[in-house]
């Protein structure tokens, strides 16, 4: 079940017209934390509403399908949303558009997978893009994120910045990252980027000058050959810029992860790609080999892209071997254990963001479910023919077959 992160308020009152959007933090009614102007008490029942008013909350967010009647007892800011957003909890941060009532969840405190979408613009056009690019002026998003940062719990372990291409407005992004450094010094920050901007020394130097204690650029590389990568990302010259970007980042001591999304164009050559990375870029901090999320453009290009993971398992295992022999940290994301060769299991991580993570019925009797990545719930999920619960009985059968 995919968590709804977007919506439209059933009603809202008390918002001024001097700005178009507000960033809101949710608080439980009993919260004793210092109250910020952006804080809204969460109410789910009429009782809650009464208590909130009584404890002098100036702003209230109601999560309920029932109509609300305040009878003029409350003159502060009010938003009402449907009960399907009942995951809202203390510490969560929401972006709210005054005129339309549209809102989106920017941050959930009890999630391990918080990511900020920075823009929908991108200078690549990947065949499998899960967030198809749009040429819109959405620079307001970075401002909104900047406004959110002081509201985020400083104990947050990690944040991801994603897009589109996160470095589309690189100066603004770097500004936001500096805010992260200052406001959230203990939070590890990962920025997903195609890395092409880093072929420009000026941009790498500015990135380095952030001086962030735990910053990682996560950059996709799809092949060891220029036109193959360029074709996957649909941009001529992308491979050259991306590799140059990686080199420049590492030259300045910045942390880099390389990602490879596995599908019919990248998985048959994954052993070559893995060996090439092991030989040429062994100094990267991490390599993530990732199962495909069948959403966005991946659906449109399904015929070209779909490949059953059991058909590329051997190549994947060899790629992992090459990388490990070169001392590279390698993980496999988004692929359930049952479709992976056993040698790869130690590298297979639970990696799918909680809000789009699910399992199928077969998984109920699986011994490895607790340590498995499961499946994407987004888009049109396609399932491998290899999905099978792993039980000790299955292991014994496999041993017989071997």
């Amino acid at each position: 079940m995919t968590l709804p992160l977007y919506g439209t308020a059933l009603q809202s009152t008390g918002f001024s017209s001097d700005k178009a959007r507000s960033v809101i933090r949710l608080r439980s009614i009993e919260s004793v934390a210092e109250r910020h102007l952006a804080d809204f008490a969460i109410a789910r029942t009429s009782d809650d509403i009464r208590r909130a008013i009584k404890t002098e909350w100036p702003s209230i967010l109601v999560v309920s399908d029932d109509p609300i009647d305040l009878s003029g007892a409350f003159t502060g800011r009010l938003i009402a949303v449907s009960a399907k957003y009942d995951y809202f909890a203390d510490g969560d941060v929401i972006g709210f558009d005054h005129a339309s009532g549209k809102f989106r969840t920017l941050y959930r405190r009890n999630s391990a997978h918080n990511s900020f979408l920075v823009t929908e613009r991108c200078n690549n056009y990947c065949l499998m893009c899960s967030q198809p690019p749009k040429n819109v002026d959405d620079r307001w998003i970075l401002s909104e994120i900047k406004e959110s940062l002081p509201l985020i719990d400083q104990a947050t372990r990690a944040l991801t910045f994603t897009g589109g291409e996160t470095l589309s407005d690189w100066e603004d992004l770097i500004d936001v990252l500096k805010e992260c450094r200052d406001r959230l010094p203990a939070t590890a920050v990962q920025v997903l980027t195609n890395g092409r901007a880093f072929s420009n020394s000026r941009i790498v130097d500015a990135w380095k000058d952030i001086g962030h204690p735990k910053l990682m650029a996560a950059i996709p590389v799809y092949a060891s050959v220029d036109y193959v990568h360029d074709h996957v990302v649909q941009a001529k010259g992308a491979f050259d810029e991306t590799i140059l970007g990686i080199l420049k980042l590492k030259d300045r001591g910045q942390r880099v992860e390389i990602r490879v999304v596995l599908h019919a164009l990248t998985a048959p050559i994954i052993e070559d790609t893995g060996r090439w990375i092991a030989r040429n870029l062994p100094f990267v901090d991490h390599v993530a080999l990732m199962g495909l999320e069948n959403t966005g453009f991946a659906i449109a290009n399904d015929a070209m892209l779909w490949m059953d993971p059991v058909d590329y398992g051997d190549g994947l295992a060899r790629a992992v071997d090459h990388l490990r022999a070169a001392g590279v940290n390698v993980s496999v994301y988004n692929l359930p254990k049952c479709v992976l060769p056993k040698s790869v299991w130690p590298h297979a991580l639970q990696s799918i963001s909680d809000w789009k993570n699910g399992f199928v019925e077969e998984c109920d009797r699986c011994d490895e479910k607790h340590a498995c990545s499961g499946f994407f719930t987004t888009g049109r999920p396609r399932f491998s023919r290899g999905i099978r619960a792993i039980t000790s009985q299955r292991d014994r059968l496999n041993a017989l077959v071997d």
Binding site: Y125, L127, P132, S199, S224, V225, D226, Y227, V228, D230, H231, Q234, K236, F239, D240, E241, T242, I243, L244, L247, D251, D272, W276, R279, N280, P282, F297, A300, N301, D321, R324, A325, A326, G327
Partner: protein
């Protein structure tokens, strides 16, 4: 409506392709081995090679993909591959930043063995004028500490260094009293004179031991005659005793190859296994000192030795396949060069040569040599690699001496005929002392060099195994892994 372009839309036109530097070697009819600027290997047919040179490779033809990934071809206006090759080249040459990490102290020339191949003069035990003096030792230490390397290894050799054990004590204490460098110590000894005092000292000061083990008893004793004819027995006892006190991995063994060894590699390996050593270093016989006089060197040539080596390596691989981890150390060194860009600490296979820049040898009489072989050469009257003396030379004057600079610069494989275009050059090294000893000049004529044939033979063998046997290839790759 999203529109996507096919792969052809992303190919460069032929006129926009450029060749990158590479070397090659014909390996058979219509077959070539090709290596790029940092030594990545790829096999091409003659037709593929010609198409490559004519830039007739196109995306989708298989050759383009192979050649691009191997950095043989690039887009004329692209930048990443050039930067990548530069960065990798820098890594491969970064051993130059650790100048002179190894310092060998020949604390005495005295020895009670009389090995036929030994380069060291055979002086009997009671002639103490062949011992290094404390004054010489301290001057040598001054020089060692003047080397820029942050970490140095001090190796004690001889003769039999334990015959001058008191000086070893003095040197270790004096070195530790000086600050500024991390230190490793090792004594290369036949272990015949190992006693509790020596072992306690080694344990207390973290000194490692290295001994000679040429194979089973009869082979070892034949190579190493000693009054009592018990060299092997003493070495084995010494290894086991030293392990008990110092720990298993503080005691190593090296073999020396003689004519007698060449037909017995299986037994030699068996002996190493029997003693639970974690590997063997199959070395060639070095052509120095007594070896030349006693015609040891003339007795076998590169081909015979290569047959010995191949048999030994395959036996080692078989042992691994049967479940026992066991290495051939020279292969492990070469594989690290061939499969990664990590610089290795082995001073005997590098260009610029490791003479002087990699190691300095302080002889018992205060003379300083560019390598152990350079010292052995001097024992036969040839001073070509004597750089100076501890009394009047400093680290700088030794390293910057005309002799050393001349030997190193004239032997550079990057510039030498045949070497500079050799497909194996990225993984090979210069050996000015060997070539001087065997041919009379530091560069040598490589077609006549047994060093060269051995190197080519070993690398060709390793490549063959990596390509033809997945199980053996996995074993070899493990030896080169970090």
């Amino acid at each position: 409506m999203a529109r996507f372009s096919p792969p052809e839309a992303f190919s460069a036109a032929t006129r926009d392709l450029s060749l990158l530097p590479f070397n090659f070697e014909r390996t058979g009819t219509g077959q070539y081995l090709v290596a790029n600027m940092v030594g990545d290997f790829i096999r091409l047919t003659e037709d593929e090679l010609r198409r490559l040179v004519d830039l007739q490779a196109r995306p989708g033809d298989g050759l383009y993909e192979k050649a691009y990934a191997a950095h043989l071809v690039t887009g004329t206006n692209q930048k990443a591959q050039r930067q990548l090759l530069a960065a990798r080249l820098r890594s491969r040459m970064s051993f130059l930043q650790q100048t002179t990490p190894l310092h060998i102290f020949v604390v005495t020339l005295r020895c009670e063995h009389s090995c036929p191949y030994c380069q060291v003069s055979r002086q009997s035990t009671d002639r103490s004028r062949f011992d290094m003096s404390e004054q010489t030792a301290m001057r040598a230490l001054d020089i060692a500490f003047a080397s820029p390397s942050a970490r140095i290894k001090i190796e004690f050799q001889g003769g039999e260094p334990l015959l001058n054990f008191p000086l070893i004590r003095t040197i270790v204490a004096a070195a530790k009293a000086r600050s500024g460098k991390m230190l490793d110590f090792i004594i290369a000894s036949n272990l015949a004179l190992l006693d509790d005092a020596v072992l306690d000292f080694c344990k207390a000061n973290d000194v490692q031991l290295s001994t000679s083990l040429d194979g089973p008893a009869d082979l070892h004793n034949k190579n190493r005659p000693r009054p009592g004819a018990n060299s092997h027995e003493l070495a084995v006892a010494g290894i086991q005793r030293a392990r008990e006190v110092l720990g298993h991995d503080k005691v190593g063994a090296l073999m020396t190859t003689t004519e007698a060894s060449l037909d017995r590699v299986d037994e030699i390996i068996e002996e190493y296994l029997r003693l639970d050593l974690d590997g063997v270093f199959l070395r060639p016989l070095s052509p120095f000192g007594f070896a030349i006089k006693t015609k040891q060197f003339a007795k076998y040539d590169a081909e015979k030795w290569l047959a010995f080596y191949e048999r030994g390596l395959r036996r080692v691989l078989e042992i691994n396949r049967q479940g026992t981890p066991f290495r051939e150390f020279y292969a492990a060194l070469l594989l690290t060069r061939m499969l990664s860009d990590r610089p290795i600490g082995y001073v005997d296979l590098r260009s610029p040569a490791g003479a002087g820049l990699g190691a300095l040898v302080y002889n018992y009489d205060g003379s300083v040599f560019a390598s152990d072989e350079g010292r052995m050469l001097a024992e036969t009257g040839d001073d070509a690699f004597r750089l100076g003396h501890v009394e009047h030379d400093s680290y700088n004057s030794l390293i910057l001496s005309d002799k050393l600079i001349g030997a190193i610069s004239s032997s550079l494989t990057q510039c030498a005929p045949e070497c500079s275009t050799c497909v194996y050059e990225s993984h090979c090294g210069a050996d000015p002392v060997y070539h001087h000893a065997t041919q009379g000049d530091a560069l040598g004529i490589k077609p006549l060099s047994a060093f060269c044939s051995r190197q080519k033979g070993i690398m060709s063998l390793l490549l063959d195994i990596l390509e033809s046997s997945p199980e053996d290839a996995a074993i070899l790759r493990r030896w080169a892994a970090t």
